[in-house]
Every structure is written in structure tokens, then in C-alpha cells.
Symmetry: C3
Subunit: 144 residues, 3 copies
Amino acid sequence: MTATPLTSTDLYLRVQHFYARQMQALDEGRFGEYAATFTGDGTFQHTPGTEPAVGPERIEAELHRFHERFRDDPVRRRHYFNQIVLDELPDGSVRSTVYALIVRVRPGDRVPEVWPSCVVHDILEVNDDRILLRSRVIGYDHLE
Amino acid sequence: MTATPLTSTDLYLRVQHFYARQMQALDEGRFGEYAATFTGDGTFQHTPGTEPAVGPERIEAELHRFHERFRDDPVRRRHYFNQIVLDELPDGSVRSTVYALIVRVRPGDRVPEVWPSCVVHDILEVNDDRILLRSRVIGYDHLE
Amino acid sequence: MTATPLTSTDLYLRVQHFYARQMQALDEGRFGEYAATFTGDGTFQHTPGTEPAVGPERIEAELHRFHERFRDDPVRRRHYFNQIVLDELPDGSVRSTVYALIVRVRPGDRVPEVWPSCVVHDILEVNDDRILLRSRVIGYDHLE
């Protein structure tokens, strides 16, 4: 699909705020709230080479499964997003390409671990009231 | 208080720019300019378990006192803010919840120290002309 | 020149988006696209004490020259920008002062190197259609 640069500044802001709420929800463990930012058939692929989870219900289940591994590890993660580029696609959806860096802190450790460095590839469905994710694919810089 | 999601995109931008000026002022040691971003009875608690400083004059004095410990340490700090979430409160003020990561550099050390990872909890008083801080409380991820 | 705080929120957003496209282009090695964000006589000084490159053609050549040193080093860089402060100058141009932190990843190394910490000093030429850089000077915190 041919993409055209986005001109609506208003949308640019709405996307920033959408991401802020979404990632604070994820980092605070509110997986249902995170999953609800996807469309009914929205897809989420957080690890290359795996099948994406489809739909909010499965995305939420996948997040619970993924975080099982941290059950005995009280790590807190903060997702930093930066340099959001938006392009409108011919079908009216919006492609978003964003840098993401994850900051990890464990209780008592003042200095966080900062990894990995990612690029988030989103397709957004936007209407006047809300933004939803049609798909999210995470690319990892150390795997490319 | 019940909070409602903020819809004004204009305000979202103004808050971003407010933070940018405020934190560049702090990082450059312009403590008076930082303190002047608080209301007359604004409160600033930068360390958990301590009494907050109240009002611009005391906030400025507190910043000078705090930086005394760095008198012989030429560290430069840069505050990175990210993922700003705004919610309107019933009294018209705005609650802002923001990630903050501090980057510290000493002369000659190319690689900065990156710590700590924080969440900033602000209450903002907004009118057409300006934004002021009614209160700021810093949470530290490694202490929670 | 006396600077006045910028009031147009719309411009603040446009500058954010401009930076996002520009730095994604640089990080992906699209040096021509990066160079084209400068005016015909735009200047780019990426290293203190060196002569700035003047005009898109020389800026692009300088970027190719600079990256020669990484020919055998498959490092990927991501430029994180934060805390953008904009001020209008009397001649209608816009001064932009921005924090920048560079994240560096090599294949297989999950944990990135994070350095250096910089402040970007830009003069922007803005009209209704586009933003261009009249000048960019990079300051490095560890050299000051």
C-alpha cells in the first residue's frame, strides 16, 4: 500500500496520548485494559517467529501467560516510546512506526536495566471517538 | 475524586511544552524559574517520607539545599519525561502521570549513568494563559 | 536576538513529527532524506570544533564520510529526542532546544549502549507546508 504523510496534527497528539495510557496500563499489569486497545480481530505479535495473538481475549491471556515467567521476579518495566511517525494508508487506517526502549527496575536496585531497544510497527484504526490497534508487531534491534 | 479522560488535544501539547521548559530550567540550575512553575501554595515532594516544600520561595530554597551535596561533583542531569497521561478532575484541575528517567553525565565520561526510574504525579492548574503546578510528588520505582 | 515563547501548539506538534521522520531517516541510513531537511544554505555541525557542513549535498557527503568508520561495525543507532523547547526569533525563525540520547545496539547484544547525552540546538525555518533546518549544532554533555 502507498502511504501518505499524515497532516492532521490533532491525530498526532491523540496517538501520543493513546500510547501513554496503553503503556501505563501494561506496565501496571492492567492487561485487560491493554488488550481492550485492540480491535475485535486485532493482532499482537510481541516475539518474532511466533504466531500473533488475535483479539482482546487472547491477547489478554497471552499477556498473563508471558508474565508467568516473572512470577518470582519482582521486576517493574517502563516502556519509553519516542519518535512516532504516522502515515495514512489508502484504506483510512494509520501506520505508526515508533521507537521503544524498556526500563527495568527491581526493588532496591536504584539503577535500572535498559533493554531491549525495539521498533513498534502498528496499524491504527481511528475514528472521532477512539483509536484502536488493528495490529502490532515488535521488532528487536539486537535480532536484526 | 473521579477523573475523566482529557479530550483537549491542545492542552496535551501545552503540558508537554510546559514540562520541557520546566525541566530544562531545573537541569540548567535555574531553580527560581523552576520554582515559579508552582502556585503560591504549590507543594513539591521530591523524596518519599519527607515533608513537601510549600510555595515557590521554599521550593527554590529546597533546591539550593538539595544541590549543595553536588557542590564538589560536577554532575549534569537531564530529566527525560515520557508517556504523559492527563485526566481532568472535578474541580477543573488536571492530574498528570508521567514516566521520568534521569540521565547523569560527568565531564569526560562519555557514557552517562541512567537512574533512577521515576513516576511523576502532578496536579496542574490550567487557565488560558498559563499552567502552574499545584502539587508534585515523585515516586521511585526501586523503592516500591 | 530576543526570543519569545512560542504559543502555537500546532507548530509544537509539527516539529515533533518533523524530528521523528528526520531521525528515523538518519537511523535507517537514508542520509539523502536527512540532508533534505536542511535549507539550501543550512549548516550542520555534529562535532564541536569542526567546520559545519553547508547545504544538503555536503551534509549528505559528510554523513557518508562519518559512517565509513562503522563499515566493519554493524552498530544500529536510535536517537531519542525529549523535552523540546521552542522560541520564536524576531526574524520569524524558530529556535529549538532538545535533549538527545543515543541508543546503540549490535546484533546479538540484547542490552544496548546508551551514549552520548546531547543537547541539540536547531534554528528552524517554518512555513505552512514544511519545516526546514537552517542550522543544527550538537552539544555533548561530557565535553562541557
